[in-house]
Symmetry: C2
Subunit: 670 residues, 2 copies
Amino acid sequence: MAEIGEVMDHLADERRKAEFDVSAMKVVWAGSRHELEITDRMARIVASDPVFRKDNRAMLSRKELFKNSLKKAAHAWRRIIELRLTEEEASKFRSSIDEACYPDLHWGMFVPAIKGQGTDEQQKKWLPLAKKLQIIGCYAQTELGHGSNVQGLETTATFDPETDEFVIHSPTLSSSKWWPGGLGKASTHAVVYARLITNGEDHGIHGFIVQLRSLDDHSPLPGITVGDIGAKFGNGAYNSMDNGVLQFDHVRIPRDQMLMRISQVTRDGKYLVSDVPRQLVYGTMVFVRQTIVQDASTALSRAVCIAVRYSSVRRQFGSQNGGPESQVIDYKTQQSRLFPLLASAYAFRFVGEWLKWLYTDVTQRLQANDFSTLPEAHACTAGLKSLTTSVTSDGIEECRKLCGGHGYLCSSGLPELFAVYVPACTYEGDNNVMLLQVARFLLKTVSSLASGHPPVGTASYFGRAEHLMQCSCEVRTADDWLKPSVILEAFEARAARMVIACAKNVSKTSVLEEGFSEFSIDLVEAAVAHCQLIVVSKFIEKLQQDIPGNGVKETLQVLCSVYALSLLHKHTGDFLSTGCINPKQASLANEQLRSLYAQVRPNAVALVDSFNYTDYYLNSTLGRYDGNVYPTLYEAAWKDPLNDSVVPDGYHEYIRPLLKQQVTSRAARL
Amino acid sequence: MAEIGEVMDHLADERRKAEFDVSAMKVVWAGSRHELEITDRMARIVASDPVFRKDNRAMLSRKELFKNSLKKAAHAWRRIIELRLTEEEASKFRSSIDEACYPDLHWGMFVPAIKGQGTDEQQKKWLPLAKKLQIIGCYAQTELGHGSNVQGLETTATFDPETDEFVIHSPTLSSSKWWPGGLGKASTHAVVYARLITNGEDHGIHGFIVQLRSLDDHSPLPGITVGDIGAKFGNGAYNSMDNGVLQFDHVRIPRDQMLMRISQVTRDGKYLVSDVPRQLVYGTMVFVRQTIVQDASTALSRAVCIAVRYSSVRRQFGSQNGGPESQVIDYKTQQSRLFPLLASAYAFRFVGEWLKWLYTDVTQRLQANDFSTLPEAHACTAGLKSLTTSVTSDGIEECRKLCGGHGYLCSSGLPELFAVYVPACTYEGDNNVMLLQVARFLLKTVSSLASGHPPVGTASYFGRAEHLMQCSCEVRTADDWLKPSVILEAFEARAARMVIACAKNVSKTSVLEEGFSEFSIDLVEAAVAHCQLIVVSKFIEKLQQDIPGNGVKETLQVLCSVYALSLLHKHTGDFLSTGCINPKQASLANEQLRSLYAQVRPNAVALVDSFNYTDYYLNSTLGRYDGNVYPTLYEAAWKDPLNDSVVPDGYHEYIRPLLKQQVTSRAARL
């Protein structure tokens, strides 16, 4: 037991092996010195504040968990004001708290919806209230029976010209609003999406600001039934959030609470469309999905950080002459599962950074009424949302498995991270639906090639379709696979050939929609190939920039190759069946991969240190910075409520009678 | 709200579509009429008993959950006695309760360990106590620092000839026993694995029966520190089990509590090995892993049942002329993810059935001192354990995602099913370690080909290695892929070529172990190919038997083809790079798959009905037999403790002050 209480860095040897400048890599990961400084400062303030404690989350009951999250939200608001944080700092402060709660929706959905869809007048009225938290808002779109298909929503908003009001109503059980975060217990207001009906005509889905609860005593207003939808995946995880159910029984709101920037209803019930382009809505989608890609790299890197550190501490098998066993991270099979995820975390970081630029670019174009790049930007963000969240979900669980049995304990941090992360595959566009949207865009791109429309942005490689359909891969040695141009052409050729093959198959069917449906499985695979190409190409572009710091660029080059070649290995079938590479070249790629893993190995711990996560943030017995895993696991165990007493509650009623053979009179006779 | 309370079968249309006799398929799934009858009867008794209620599991605190599981265990024991159940019935009764608790380990590990490793005398003493539950036992093998590598365990059992006792001791923190189920709070005894030391010599790991707690008041005996290791993945899930930590401080036990069937320590401390073959231990492993494969088919089928039924109820997009939207199960992309899992559930069922036979066969041979098939049987069960549990874990999560947002609610049953299932990938042999063992066996098989040892059982296809290395696939039309012989040869050729390529690479290295390590990634992939072949071949063999029931065999043939061709599609890279098939044939396989999915579609609901699961067992708002999903989801939501009050606990302290701008004096001034 001598180990308990020791203070030493069990990973010091690992850190000495690093071949690059960790502090420079931290800047690369954060995006800039400025970002690193703010993130670091906010993370430390939160980590040192006992109110934000989270190591007990998995042990709290639902009610305790929820109340605690309200406490944290209130304390965060107080601290943000006291510390006079800028908007940028406040946002990082909130995300450092790492607990799902109503402010996520208030700041992330309610405020942006009013900004994006409200008239200037509406913004002037509602934004100050929201920004001071005089009202708390959520975003009530999905219904019990309606998720992905927004056009299928059933809630109605019927204009009553007599009173100049809208009547908001839930006509069926399946029209109950269902899932909105912050709705169940916390919000006073919601942006509610409903079918606008005026003069007996259905004008489709529009947004309305609806007050839900009294600002005096928080009781639901007349006609409103609201509550929480119940426990979700994981112990703590997303259960700190009050995802809600909401039903309207003919609730009346003033006409001016319809969000009227894009379309209006006049006093006499006429429906008008303003000259503000509808495409602005897509701009918001690009923004939201861009943040989701950033969040994916954060969640994945966090899981990878835990798994890399623990794999460096954990020893199993391979003891020679009674010496210590081998570090688990030295096993090739461990490396082949862990290092591609490490590389993916960096890849997603860089593609996320590029998406920020894309959003700025799209916004500027929209302001200049240039909608030409919007379909491409929309497809690109939809696809990357799908790709990065799927890989991250699976990757977190893979990291958990790579931690063996101990990864199954909540104290490892991984079960909670998985459970809180997985909804990202479903919210803001189901991942499979997203890929079908990408596929549609790709088919359109191919069909417009003939009509001379040059493809733009991430689809511009289709401009070289003729070359890509017949080019052959030049790889002759394993080292040839390190050339960015070789990688890029292989990924471009694979995507182009898959998409064009689909397009040909679809065009053979008489009805386009039937063909789309019949070949949708292939189309989804082609869309994935396209999205992977985007990530690979943005990683390569990143490395064409100047990146300061000793060994930093070289190490990232290794990761870039790991990312691309591990994908190529996983999807060898695609590359071979489209003839982009031959079996010998596939085998050389594997040979190169093995060598790359050996190059990542000494840098692995330093590469996860570069994420700059505090132990508080990781909240993991296995992922601690100092690697002091076993004493920490041991101490964490004793904190479980079940250990409050040595003899468990229930012993006298349910164990002792068995042992004493007093279960039933008949049992005693047996 | 009119839907609430309606009693009708929302899936009646789906059931009418079925093209086979569901009651006959139920017999096939259960294994026999006898099995079906018992399983069905036990399931119904449990389902109708309010003590076994489980729909509130996700809402209980850890202590409540644990106490409730003790209650269920005691009640089950009482009912088993009252109903005078046979051992077979009792076992099915317990598994119908579907809650992890100490009896799992008592009956599943403690009793078998004494049976397998105890002398006749020891069995005579301990088994009656265990069988009457006068003692409760667990199986204490793994330690904080030692999981897969049993030879690395640190706990010592040192013989003291002066007192004729063993001194059990935990010399380090990392030697603390860690994970054993039932240990933390319930067990009075344990079979403890420790290094046997006598006369200063270490004889490796042996089992010892150690009493842990007083039989009078359940307090831990002197020198014993024991407790629970804390919260695990999931809300309820495995948290009903008291996985434990255990430390010994020089605890003394009589010499005759060493399990002495295979080796003994004499009164004067001599270590003797009996003539009972050590290989018997492997026989037990074959047994345990066989049950794990059966459990995999149960868990996977349960998830698939929920996802298939809900996909048939859920409608999204595709509304034409204001009609209802399309059933989600009609989307090809949904089918391509769901139907291979449905086929896998059946495939695992049949391979599990075959493993039962294998266990009987191995046991009979061992009794006749025939060890010739043991390595093959051992590799086969290790590999199938790994393959089926990995696919099942991923498959449950895939089914959850296929249920969209609602799958994230605990009331869907899927989060809990996943969380309670995933440890199967780690316990009883980490899946990756298992595959490496299979790989070792395969390398040995290949190397002994030269020496004229004919390979046996599932490895016998290596006897045709010469043919398999050069054969070419005869597929010319999509329908050719329906021929079992074609499928079998493709899978055999793929596995043989991958294994032999690895063997060649490994043999090039000077030290075998280094070669094994260097090519371990490829070896694992080859092992997977071998295991998939076993499952495919056992499915095909099953269909060569007589299977009664209208349309039953035909439907299973479709599933068998779906299983094989979806694997072939997923691993196209393997098949192409080894030259087993060409790109055109890969494309024909996809074409055939599309057609097969269309054939599964009308039978999907009937195929999951054939599992014969009660609504109680599924415990899923989405997977109900009657498909009445939405009212059930709605009602389940209101049961959450957070809905006990309309205004949440915490409002006055943490929400109202914000809304009223009373956070800080400074805040009021802003």
